[in-house]
Structure formats: structure tokens, C-alpha cells
Chain length 498, copies 2
């Protein structure tokens, strides 16, 4: 990552200025000659930086006129701070989550915008494919014995190295390899809670984590969360004073679905708050390594001094989810974490562990992360531009600091589940907002995945979704009123429903 070339630095600088709105869509950029004088580089270097941006579709060359910004940059407002129910509630919504995760086929475009898949076609993943084949060919059958319970030692070593980039220093014996981040989260929850307990969560939150609460019979206490700054520490403190909270479960870096990363100061304050109330924190860091900023933001675990932060992550968002390879750094709960791992799935599959360890050790992982961060940042801007262009007026959009998820907040009368019904005939779909809430909030919100190539098909898909959303909003008051009349309740006024 340190070997960034000069032209790449200039390319990034230009891109950032475009994203900051210094140059807007349609603006002419400085000429190549001006640019190389300003930056003190050769014409070749300056030209290369423009060519790179052109290849990415951010700018275009017009003959005899120079370079112009093509990606429209917008100032669409951020989603508002969430206002969930401020009391512990049981989670439901399995039917809708199931529709999203059961039998989903990644080939369908329908799924591509709704699901949680990273870009699996990235060139920087190819060495992993080779290493997997190589490991498989070289592995004797005895390699497929039960692995040691904590996982492959070399992989755990590489994971501690990776964690150190987030400021979290742990020994490889303090890492337990798991079957994806999902198992890490599930183990952490089982370590800390009994059925009926209350868990404080940021809101909206990853639906997989919500469903875990449901399955364990836990109550979710959803804390107001801001699309820029993350979970409200004030509201959390009040909640900790008021309710017997057994654990705090948050995604403070490259949050799914909101995209924010809490800053260091607020992360430190969150850990301190948990310490004062003697509560453990489950930190979902699964998108943390995809932060666009380098070095990546620190994890909560980096501020943890007494082992109360249980860090959960995986390679499902950075490499290949089908490897089912994650990890848990369980802090002070290590021994019980091993027990929970044992009774959950026994040891982990052996082959993928050694191939991924090798992929990391050879530096492929760092190179891959650099490429993906860059790709996803560009995709973020393109996707935000499309949303701005095609979605109804009043739509608010997140500005993710990493990862590949966009959160949209439409006018309050909008219904994202009805949108999905309308999108079936187009073979399209989105992740509807209520999945991300224990109490069925966020009906007017939805999440879009922008990991894969933003080609004409995706462009058309986003336009179609935007059109359907507009149509729904245009129709909505009338159709709702009709439905109510069918139900025989004539007293409800239309406006009361919105």
C-alpha cells in the first residue's frame, strides 16, 4: 500500500476534489499543462492521472476542449437521525429476511442490489483462486483431520497483523477462527446473554444480527443513530441507566447499512461508557477493512483496556463469503468462547484457512484491499449520483465511509416492502428498511448494494427502481385510502395515514 505511484496520488487528489464538489458535473478541469505546473510533475505523469480518471468514467476528454467531469456530484442530504422505540422489544421479520437469504442466486440482478455480496470478479482476487487450488492439490488427506479448535495458527497470526491496522493489539491465542462473522457474532451473544436479556443495538442495524437476537429470545433496545456520527452516546447512556442491558452490539466502522465510521473520540467514549456500566461490547467490524481512508479507522477494540470488547469479523466482505471464514477476538471471554465454538460447529474447515493465511502473508490481501477500497469509493459516488437523478424528490442518501452499501431514506409515506412487490415483475429488488429494525421501523428506507460493476444494466435497474418509487409515492395516498375503504374503516382520513 505504501508503493502508491505519483500519478496515482494525483489521480486520487483530483477524484477527491471532484467528490468534494470543487469540480462539479460538467465543469472543465485544469489543462494537463496547468496541472503539471501546479503539481510539479512531468507531462507524462499528469496525463496518466487524467487517463486513469477517464478510464474510471469520472471525467471525459472532449476533443480540443480538455477534460470535463462526468460523474454528477450531488449534495443530497443525509438520512435523518433515527428515532426507534426506546424500549426493549422482541425481534421479528424472519419471513422477509428469509426471502432475502434463502435460495438467493447471485446471478440474478434482482439479488445483486439487495444482497450483501462483495465484487467477486475483482482481478486482485485471482491469486486467492490459485492459492486455493494449490493448497487443495498439495494437501494430503490427513490435512482434513479436525483442526485445532481455535483455528490454523498461521491464519490467526495473520489476523492479529490485520487487526493491528485498526490499532487493536492482540495475541494470536486471543483469536478464534469461526464459520464466518455470523458465527462470531452468535458466539459472542451466547457468551454474554441468556434468553429474555436486553441487548442495546445501533439502529438501523444488520438484519442478520437482529435475527440472532430473535433466535436467542433476546430483546433489542434500539438506540437512536446518526448517519454521520453513529450511535447516540447520550441516548445509550440513558438506556444503560434505565434498562438491565447485558451487551451492546454495534458496527462502529463502515456501518451496515448507514455507512458512517464513528470518530476516535466517540469510539473511546463508547468504550468508556461501557466500562462505567460494566457492560460488554460486541463489535461487528466486518466492513472495517474496506474503509476508504488509509490508514483505516481504529476499532473499538483498540480502545479496550480490560477485554470487554469482543471483535467479530470475516473475509466474507473482503474476499469470498462462500469460504465461510471469520474470527472472533473474545477478549476476557476466551475460554468460554472456545467452549461455545466447540458446541456450535466444532473446529473450522481446514483448507480455506491455510489458503487465506498464505494470501495474507504474501501481501495479496493488502493489495486487494487497496484496489477494492478505491473501486467501492468510485461506485459509491456513481450510485449516489444515480439515486439523486432517478429517485423521488426528498430522498435522503448516506455517504458511506467504506464498504459497498447505500442507505436511502424516502418520504415517510413510502413503503419499501410494497416497492419490492412492484419490482418483482422487473426481476429487481432492494433490501427493505424494516429488516434493519427490531420494531419494524424504516419502512420508508431501503439499502442498495453497489459492489459490482456499475454497468448499463445496473444503471437501468437503478432507474427502474427510482421510477417505481416515484410511481408509488404518486399513487400512494389514493390507493391507501381505497384499501382502508375495503377494510370497512371509513373514518380514517387519508392524510392520517401518511
Amino acid at each position: 500500500m505504501s508503493r502508491t505511484k505519483r500519478y496515482e496520488q494525483l489521480r486520487d487528489l483530483l477524484a477527491e476534489r471532484i467528490h468534494q464538489g470543487v469540480y462539479r458535473c460538467g465543469d472543465r478541469l485544469p489543462s494537463v499543462r496547468q496541472w503539471c505546473q501546479q503539481q510539479g510533475v512531468s507531462m507524462t505523469t499528469a496525463q496518466a492521472s487524467f487517463a486513469a480518471l477517464e478510464a474510471e468514467g469520472l471525467i471525459e476528454a472532449r476533443p480540443r476542449s480538455g477534460y470535463f467531469v462526468t460523474a454528477p456530484v450531488n449534495n443530497t442530504p443525509l438520512p435523518q437521525r433515527s428515532q426507534p422505540e426506546q424500549r426493549p422489544v422482541h425481534v421479528s421479520r424472519w419471513a422477509q429476511v428469509k426471502a432475502l437469504v434463502v435460495g438467493s442466486s447471485p446471478q440474478q440482478i434482482r439479488h445483486a442490489l439487495a444482497n450483501g455480496l462483495p465484487d467477486l470478479r475483482a482481478r486482485t482476487l485471482l491469486p486467492l483462486q490459485r492459492l486455493l487450488t494449490q493448497s487443495q492439490r498439495q494437501a494430503s488427506l490427513t490435512h482434513f483431520a479436525y483442526d485445532s479448535l481455535a483455528g490454523d495458527a498461521e491464519l490467526r497470526h495473520q489476523i492479529t497483523h490485520l487487526m493491528s491496522h485498526s490499532g487493536c493489539m492482540r495475541h494470536q491465542d486471543d483469536v478464534v477462527v469461526t464459520t464466518g462473522c455470523q458465527e462470531a457474532l452468535a458466539i459472542a451473544l451466547r457468551l454474554l446473554t441468556q434468553p429474555g436479556d436486553v441487548v442495546a443495538v445501533d439502529s438501523p442495524a444488520f438484519y442478520g444480527a437482529m435475527q440472532m437476537l430473535e433466535a436467542r429470545g433476546l430483546k433489542a433496545l434500539e438506540i437512536p443513530t446518526d448517519a454521520e456520527h453513529g450511535i447516540s452516546l447520550g441516548a445509550l447512556e440513558l438506556a444503560l441507566e434505565q434498562w438491565p442491558v447485558k451487551a451492546i452490539m454495534v458496527t462502529p466502522t463502515c456501518n451496515n447499512p448507514l455507512g458512517y465510521s464513528m470518530d476516535d473520540q466517540r469510539k473511546k467514549a463508547l468504550v468508556e461508557l461501557a466500562r462505567r456500566h460494566d457492560v460488554a461490547i460486541i463489535e461487528d467490524d466486518v466492513y472495517g477493512d474496506l474503509a476508504y481512508a488509509a490508514p483505516r479507522p481504529r476499532s473499538l477494540a483498540a480502545f479496550d483496556e480490560d477485554g470487554r470488547v469482543l471483535l467479530c469479523s470475516s473475509v466474507s466482505k473482503t474476499l469470498l463469503p462462500g469460504l465461510r471464514l471469520g474470527w472472533l477476538a473474545p477478549g476476557r471471554y476466551r475460554d468460554r468462547a472456545l467452549h461455545e465454538k466447540y458446541v456450535s460447529t466444532g473446529s473450522s474447515a481446514t483448507l480455506a484457512q491455510s489458503a487465506v493465511a498464505e494470501f495474507m502473508a504474501r501481501g495479496h490481501y493488502a493489495r486487494h484491499l487497496t484496489a477494492m477500497r478505491r473501486q467501492y469509493r468510485l461506485h459509491r459516488d456513481q450510485m449516489r449520483a444515480w439515486v439523486h437523478q432517478y429517485f423521488p424528490e426528498g430522498t435522503r442518501v448516506s455517504v458511506p465511509s467504506g464498504g459497498f452499501m447505500l442507505w436511502l431514506e424516502l418520504p415517510e409515506r413510502f413503503d419499501s416492502i410494497a416497492l419490492n412487490q412492484c419490482l418483482v415483475e422487473h426481476q429487481l429488488g432492494v433490501a427493505p428498511g424494516p429488516l434493519f429494525s427490531a420494531s419494524g421501523k424504516y419502512q420508508h428506507c431501503l439499502r442498495l448494494n453497489f459492489a459490482s460493476t456499475l454497468d448499463d444494466i445496473t444503471h437501468a435497474a437503478v432507474r427502474t427502481i427510482g421510477d417505481c418509487a416515484r410511481e408509488q409515492l404518486a399513487r400512494r395516498p389514493e390507493s391507501k385510502a381505497i384499501r382502508i375503504r375495503h377494510d370497512g374503516d371509513k373514518s380514517s382520513s387519508t392524510s392520517g395515514l401518511i
Copy 2:
């Protein structure tokens, strides 16, 4: 399996007669000429059947005298019917289980006799290695997306085919692929119980299942179990009348550790008993396909008419545990099973599923099972012979009907955990009896694995373990008395301790 050649049939017939004690160690077998006249086969065929048995070490040729039986066959008595605590108790013993499963290295002979590994060096596994490499090489990276939650459809189809051999007819949509049998059992338990509930189990029982009860805060109600007939249906019925049992968890076929297979009549009665008391049954069938008899015994699920039997299995005992590939046939609990699977580990790893499906579809799995059943049966007899030869007088030994585990019951004053301490210096170890009980019973019992080649090293190891056991028994009354004296309790008589 149907293409067994004539000489193989004769080989098996001879082997069975030896095991039945018709020919005992040192006896001369019929001459080749007599044998071919008796059986109406050619000299070549008769000669081939002797040669095969000689290659297996069961008989030996003595020049100018004929063939003689070498494997000593013994009539060591079976372990007695267990008499566990007949009240629900919490499970403990994690420390000892951890010693067995954490950081265990399959290379160590210490581990080989104590662990749960099948023979990973079997030639009939080689096609699987090729298929794994081939799948890996041919798989594009998009193959590593999240799999559908229930697992690979082709694999589920093959699994239903396999289950049909045990008389259990289920559709592939009624199968959920899991991360090993461990996850299948864990999901089944979570479906049926809440912390504090009572689960009836056969006793002794697999320590992994015991630890699951512990982790979920369940109480085990251990039911007396017979080394020949399995769980006592009378005792179970009394227990169901007396306690609020939420699930029955049993391993009725090729039981681990006792080795018995319940007969059809008793299996049917067990399912009927569960129906009358409206209790679900978790059936661990992980060794069932390794039954020495062909066709394999029926599963409990085969007698299940209302979906109350949740069948759990995997390829960890038949193929490679490091693949972490198992399944759950959850009966009437399918939808909730998918939910539990989702919140446990999400979908399963993709690659191993397609390779194993192909291994099954091409008939390799059936061929492999045939070879392993035969190998394990021969190993069973050799291991029983060694135990008879080297272990203390009064040792009782199971006669497994399948799988690769032997259960030994020594005189009551014997301590298997102390034995393991004594074996450390020899770099040896066994699975001590108390791991298999919730209430710490079976201190005088132990389990030996006989999956791998029974070579000189293993022979010497069994002899050493036998010697250590003898020494302990010879020393035991005296050393216990001394310890008591150190504790200051001089009133206890030595004999009272035994």
C-alpha cells in the same frame, strides 16, 4: 456394493466363522482343496479367498501345513448396563473435553487412540481428493458467493439417497446442510429447548453432545443403557412420566461410545414412546453408515410418521472431518431449522459441498463405505484381541456393530483420568469415561479409537496402556489410603474407597 466377487464372499464367510469362534486362534483352517469342494468353487477362487485373509493378517500360511488362524478371538464379556443418576443434572467436565479437543494434533499417537478421527489414509478416499482439486480449479470466484441457506441442491439430493438406505424417505427440501454434525445437533437442541429444560440422553453418550447441553444451560437426564440393546425403554418411559423432558437425544445406530445398534423393534418402540409423550427425538446417526452389516440398520427416522425425529449426520466419520460438512433432516421443524442455521453460521461453505455431491453421485461413496466397514470390522477384532491380551483381568469390552470405537469397562476402583496422567510420559492417551457422562460417571471406563492401521506402533501403544492400567490397579488401594491419610482422615478404611 452389489458387485462383490465370489472370492470376496468366501473371504467374508471365513472371516465371520473366525469371529464367531468356529475357528479359534491357532486352529488350522480347511485345506484349499477341501474348501473349494465344500463351496463348489475353483481352486483359484478358493486360493484367492485365503490369500486375501492372509493379507489382512487374520490367518497365516505355514509351509507344508496349511492355513492357521492368527487373530486371537476372545469372549471378553460386554460392559454392564449403565446405572447413571436418574435425575436431571447439569453437565460439566469441559476442562477434560478441552484437553482432548483443543490444539489436538492428529499426528501424535497420543491423540490417535483417544480422538474421533476416521482413517484418513484410505485409498478409496483418493477420488475425493481429486474431485476437491478439480472443483477448486474449475470453480470461478462467483462460485464462492453465499450459498442458498439450505445448501447445495445436488448434495441434498445425494443425502436423501443416502438416507433412503436407512429406510428414511425424505425430500431434498427437508434437508439442511450444516457445518458438521455438531452444528446439526446444536441447531436441533436450540429448536427444541430453552435453558433449564431437561433432555433425556442415552448414557454413556458422546461428550460433544454433553457439552452442548452444558452450553445451553440444559439438564441431562441420563437413562440406563445396555451395551448390546441400547437405551432402556422402560427406564426412559418412567423418566418421561416423572420429568418434563423436552427432547430425547440418542445415538441408536453404531452408538458412540458403546458400539451397539438397537434393533428395528426397539427403534420402533422408541419412536412410539416419544409419540405417546409428544416429545421430539434428536437422532445422532453420524456413525450409522459405518455399520458392518449390509444393508445398514434402519434409522429412528425411518419409523417416524409425524416428523418428530430430527436426524443429524455428517461425512466427518466416513470421509474427512476437516471439510466440516454435515446435515440435519429437521422433520416438522424445517422452517425454524433454517432460521437457526441462518443465525448460527449463515450459509455453508460452497466448494466442499459440490465435491462431496460428485463423490457420492459417481458411486465413490458407496465403494468407500464398503471398504471402510470391512476394515473397521477387522480392526475391531484385532483391537478386542489386544485388549483381552494386555488389559487387567475383569476388563469388559464392547462389541461394536459399526464405526471405530471400543468401550472398555475396568474394575470399579480403576481411574481412567489418572491413567491418562500416567500415559503422558509415554505420549499416549485415551478418552476417559467421565467425559461421556453428565454426572461424572464411568471413571472406570475408557474409549479407544481403532480406525487407523493397527501396526506395531499401535500394538505397542495398546500394550503400554494395558500395562499402565494393570499397575494402577495393583497400586491403587495403597496409594488412595496414603492420600486420605495426608488429608488427615484416618478413619476411612482402604476397602471403603474401592
